[in-house]
């Protein structure tokens, strides 16, 4: 499998909080990486460096083997990186279709570059229908939707682009079982295409082992454990977390 994205020695501090303390990872095309770890471990910070939202204090990111230094989110997007952020990055006061096309709006031809609302509506509705997400209208304000629906919109937005590297930060957190199934099916379909690299942060160990090829465990800004999904178990992962927790209490 060919490597799509790689990070080496990422360090990120916020004031005197060390969010990442030398993290290295890589994800291959057609592979799905699960990222596990407690709240505050640094998982979201890691993802946000890969999307160009944060700049690392040290370390280097490579896309297709070439070093990249993202100056902005747009910069990372130009390299085919898309993300479903933990906070979903939705604007409640805007419609579903405006949110789905935020910062990649479709425009009418011509010098005025006016928004093509009609085409955005049509494509947003088609993208949601294809995934199986039912909303009364794509004109609805996102603020009027349930937590699970909002999450589904954010996922639909990320996958409806031609992402080659897809980053998902707890995409199933607010979802009911049926919605979660839809999203898992969707992600597995994408994975089976073989040309997309996927990294997903999640909380449910058993579920993550089921759908991912490989998992890493992030604790206090470092990767403490890494294994193919088939070679470990939820019990083993939990035991590592508990051991760490006890060590931290003792120390």
């Amino acid at each position: 499998m060919t490597e799509a994205i790689r990070a080496e020695g990422l360090v990120k501090t916020f004031g005197n909080v060390v969010a990442l303390n030398g993290v290295s990872l890589s994800v291959a095309r057609g592979e799905m990486l699960g990222i596990l770890g407690d709240n505050g471990a640094g998982k979201s910070t890691l993802i946000k460096i890969l999307t160009g939202y944060h700049r690392p204090d040290a370390g280097q990111v490579y896309v297709d083997g070439k070093p990249v230094n993202f100056a902005s989110v747009d910069d990372a997007r130009a390299h085919g990186i898309e993300c479903v952020y933990q906070d979903l990055a939705l604007v409640n006061g805007l419609s579903i279709y405006h949110n789905m096309f935020l910062k990649r709006e479709l425009l009418w031809g011509g010098p005025l570059k006016l928004l093509n609302h009609r085409e955005m509506r049509r494509r947003a509705a088609a993208a949601l229908a294809e995934i199986g997400i039912a909303v009364a209208s794509v004109d609805l304000e996102v603020g009027a939707l349930s937590g699970g629906q909002r999450q589904a919109i954010a996922v639909a937005r990320a996958v409806s682009t031609n992402a080659r590297i897809l980053l998902l930060d707890e995409p199933l957190a607010a979802m009911g079982a049926r919605e979660a199934r839809l999203i898992i099916d969707l992600v597995e379909r994408l994975k089976s295409r073989g040309d997309i690299a996927i990294a997903m942060i999640a909380h449910n160990y058993a579920q993550t082992l089921e759908i991912c090829d490989r998992v890493i465990l992030v604790q206090h800004g470092e990767i403490t454990f890494e294994s193919p999904a088939g070679a470990t178990s939820a019990e083993e992962l939990l035991e590592i977390v508990r051991r760490e927790y006890r060590a931290a209490r003792a120390g």
Binding site: D87, V91, L94, L102, E105, L107, K113
Partner: protein
């Protein structure tokens, strides 16, 4: 019978949701006010008075177009009324050194745009609330205008065609206002600039995660507001035929902001309409003009206008809650 009932209830529902729109309620109040003033005076709806009314409406509406964009992205410009006063003096000074009047107008507007750029850069780069930046600029620009003018009024120059277009023709100022409203409505509803302005005010973190150039858009809206403030000052100067270092000021700025808020723009950002600003400006203009016609004492006049602004703004904030948007 059943169909008729359904039709009526759908009509009622549509009427109900129309009345819940901020623009709609303000239109209803404005029409009621016009009817009242016409009944009370018998000379409200006359060509002469409509011309006067249009003059009350035009300036606050143009100012509102800028302030609405700023309010939507959670900023404000308190100094726009001072740019209003400065612009005509800039124009006259440039004109005095031999530059033709039309070019002098462009030069004055460029300086106003530059002031907006400075406000934006200070606000963004130093992370200062624009309330503070523009409060400082308010005093600074007043001082600048008084220095340039030495505190004295002056007369405008320029040929009849130019002065006509810029303000002396009967309805030229309101036509400027309507054209700017039309353009800004399209900018807000039908361009990426407008959409991103709304996104920034609605959820700044989401806007950043989506990759929106937040600083560029905020600074651009400061530039826009200052430029529109300067243009309004020029239009008023041409219409009146003289320029006054104490024209405009905080009064015109607050009328602009009030027009926007009465028309449904949220001070907390994220929502607002340009058309609402026009409607709000018309309502304020009708009141100012109407009470002037009634010959009401100037002090009472301010009390009435002040109370009306309070009531209209409070009503709209509550209507926004009724629409189900919560306190926005």
């Amino acid at each position: 019978m059943v169909a008729e009932g359904a039709a009526r209830s759908s009509f009622a529902r549509r009427a109900h949701s129309f009345l819940l729109r901020p623009e709609a309620s303000v239109i209803v109040v404005s029409v009621a006010l016009v009817a009242y003033f016409e009944l009370a005076n018998r000379n409200f709806i006359t060509n002469a008075n409509l011309q006067t009314l249009s003059q009350f409406v035009a300036a606050p509406v143009i100012i509102a177009c800028g302030e609405i964009m700023l309010l939507i992205c959670r900023e404000i410009d308190l100094s726009v009324g001072q740019v209003f006063a400065l612009a005509p003096f800039l124009m006259e000074n440039v004109n005095d050194i031999g530059v033709p009047e039309p070019l002098a107008i462009v030069a004055a507007l460029l300086v106003c745009a530059l002031i907006g750029l400075v406000i934006g850069l200070i606000t963004i780069k130093l992370s200062i609330p624009s309330f503070i930046t523009t409060l400082g600029m308010l005093f600074l620009i007043t001082g600048l205008t008084l220095t340039i003018s030495r505190g004295y009024p002056a007369n405008t120059s320029g040929g009849p065609l130019l002065t006509g277009i810029m303000g002396t023709w009967a309805y030229s100022e309101i036509l400027w206002a309507l054209a700017i409203v039309a353009i800004m409505h399209v900018v807000l509803r039908h361009t990426r600039w407008g959409l991103h302005t709304i996104a920034i005010g609605g959820n700044i973190v989401a806007a950043a995660e989506a990759g929106i150039a937040i600083n560029r858009i905020k600074i651009g809206n400061f530039v826009l507001t200052s430029t529109l403030g300067g243009l309004t000052g020029l239009l008023e100067a041409f219409r009146v035929g003289s320029i006054d270092p104490l024209a405009g000021g905080s009064n015109i700025m607050f009328l602009g902001v009030a027009s926007g808020v009465i028309g449904g723009t949220a001070i907390a950002g994220g929502t607002g309409t340009i058309v609402g600003g026009l409607v709000g400006g018309i309502m304020l203009g009708v009141m100012q003009d109407g009470f002037t016609l009634q010959g009401i004492n100037a002090f009472t006049f301010d009390i009435i206008i002040g109370a009306a602004i309070l009531i209209a703004m409070a009503a709209n904030i509550h209507l926004a809650r009724l629409r189900g948007g919560g306190a926005r």
